[in-house]
């Protein structure tokens, strides 16, 4: 059972109280984009076996969307953070680096 802390309302939420929203930090493309860019935005997914940045909605709580850093192989959660950001805050990056030395944040968005 996955338990995530909602960074907005501050409560620990069970996965049954949340809804998953897939990969986070996707770069959006809209009108004027090439087919390739739009395909990547709509369907291309990193789908890593390991560290994954993802969106969650505090569906049965405050209703706000937030982000989580989680390992898809071990289900370890490195932390959650508010969605109004283009990359994870430094404390999340530090928490990941402590467990996964050599890890680097991807260069996009």
């Amino acid at each position: 059972m996955l338990i995530l802390n909602c960074p907005y309302c501050g409560y620990d939420k069970d996965e049954t109280e949340l809804s998953a929203g897939g990969e986070a930090h996707l770069k959006r493309f809209g009108p004027g984009a090439s087919d390739e860019e739009f395909e990547g935005y709509l369907f291309g997914r990193a789908n890593p076996k390991g560290l994954h940045f993802e969106r969650w909605c505090c569906a049965s709580g405050c209703g706000k969307w937030f982000h989580a850093a989680r390992c898809t192989a071990t289900l370890e959660v490195f932390g959650t953070y508010k969605a109004q950001t283009l990359e994870p805050p430094q404390d999340i990056k530090d928490a990941i680096s402590a467990k996964r030395p050599g890890w680097t944040w991807r260069d996009f968005s």
């Binding site: 059972m1 990969e23 369907f43 291309g44 997914r45 890593p48 076996k49 192989a73």
Partner: protein, 414 residues
């Protein structure tokens, strides 16, 4: 390989079954092969088999990270049906279903194909309309299905309660020629036939890297060293994104756990396969007497081969209204597999950005039924560069917006 027959059974009975031999080989790896297939599950082995049988390509290695058939081939609920809505899907799955009918004879190995019939329950008015539409589409596609009444559902499956207060049974889409088969035997039968043709199956051999030169793959890195190949097929289901990433391209796929469970064995009580997509549950009875129950997928990406416990509870709770006897059953064991789900819920059988590399993935929650058809089409794609069965299932459809949208028709449960 000795042929299996009634005479072989009699012969071995006379000598304490000492002469059966190994079902598949455990050879020393060569340095190079014409074709390397990554993944010795049903789809990978079927691909190798039809490469040999239909195209005479037998210098083939099938490389497997774990043990043969130990991934989703050994973890599914063994349902075989072809009642899909869209033409490309119906063609592919119906080819597959028809190959299952003759598989035991073709492979000389008993895969226990049991065409006991599959019914997909309509428990909302929306589903009634959806399945009637599918039945009409199937009649145009040459797939024999019919929409049947609640009374007929009760007649075919007497243990069902069709008057549930929450989800009454309003009818069902019935495919009399659907059914199930022994999943392990499918992998074992193909492996045996591949060994017979001189192919190599290399188990416990994880691919750790893919070497390239000039837009083509030159081979794969494994614990056995570098294995060169002229063509590469990736058939790794849940780990498709991981292997594609090694080759330097991304897929429109997300990997999530899907769970199943079986009850204690009981006396025969149900001789059809029932799927209830509204409540995300499906059930059949195995030859051992266990009730085999499939549930829904987890909502988030994971590679753990186990799922969240609450999904089991939801699945069983939902089935109890339709099958009251389930409430008295002890559940024996449960497990999970990692399914590769695409954006349009249809599989990918495709060329890749690398010239001599092909990918077969995205079967999501319903790959077992497609094993022979997928192998047949994918082998043709690998041998000739095109196949009428697979041409609609290319990766390019996501860029073109030409989806094969089976989400509505197939629901979540496969």
């Amino acid at each position: 390989m000795k042929r299996n027959s009634v005479f072989a059974v009699a012969r071995e009975a006379m000598r304490q079954h000492s002469g059966w031999g190994r079902t598949w080989g455990n050879p020393e790896a060569q340095k190079a092969y014409d074709v390397v297939i990554i993944g010795a599950g049903g789809h990978g082995l079927a691909t190798a088999y039809y490469l040999g049988k239909n195209f005479g390509i037998t210098n083939v290695a099938v490389i497997e990270k774990g043990w043969l058939g130990g991934g989703n081939t050994g973890r599914n609920t063994t349902i075989i049906r072809s009642n899909y809505l869209q033409d490309p899907s119906a063609a592919l799955y119906e080819k597959s279903r028809s190959l299952y009918e003759t598989m035991s004879q073709d492979l000389n190995y008993n895969v226990m194909f049991s065409p006991r019939g599959v019914m997909m329950l309509a428990q909302t008015h929306h589903e009634v309309r959806g399945y009637q539409r599918t039945a009409h589409a199937n009649s145009r596609q040459g797939v024999t299905t019919e929409f049947i009444s609640p009374a007929r559902v009760k007649e075919l499956c007497p243990i069902m309660n069709i008057d549930g207060p929450r989800y009454p049974v309003l009818g069902a889409l019935w495919q009399a020629r659907g059914g199930s088969a022994r999943h392990d035997a499918v992998a074992w039968g193909y492996a045996r036939a591949c060994t017979d043709m001189g192919m190599h199956i290399l188990q416990k051999t994880e691919v750790t890297g893919i070497t390239q030169s000039g837009g083509n793959v030159t081979g794969v890195e494994t614990r056995l060293g570098h294995i060169a190949c002229k063509k590469l097929g990736m058939v790794v289901a849940g780990h498709a994104s991981v292997v594609a990433n090694m080759a330097g391209f991304q897929l429109p796929i997300e990997s999530v756990p899907l769970q199943a469970l079986v009850s204690e064995p009981i006396k025969p009580c149900m001789d059809v396969v029932v799927m209830a997509n509204t409540v995300h549950g499906y059930m059949s009875q195995s030859d051992k007497g266990e009730m085999v129950i499939g549930g829904g997928t987890d909502s988030y990406n994971a590679y753990t081969q186990r799922g969240s416990f609450h999904h089991l509870e939801e699945t069983v709770r939902a089935l109890i209204e339709t099958f009251p006897m389930v409430s008295r059953l002890k559940m024996l064991r449960h497990w999970g597999g990692i399914v590769d789900v695409t954006g349009d819920r249809s599989p990918i059988l495709s060329k890749t950005p690398l010239g001599n590399t092909f990918i077969n993935c995205g079967w999501g929650t319903g790959g077992f039924k497609a094993i022979p058809g997928s192998g047949w089409g994918f082998a043709e794609l690998m041998a000739k560069g095109e196949s009428p069965l697979t041409d609609q299932f290319g990766l390019d459809r996501f860029r073109a917006g030409r989806f094969i949208d089976e989400s509505v028709a197939a629901g979540v449960a496969h």
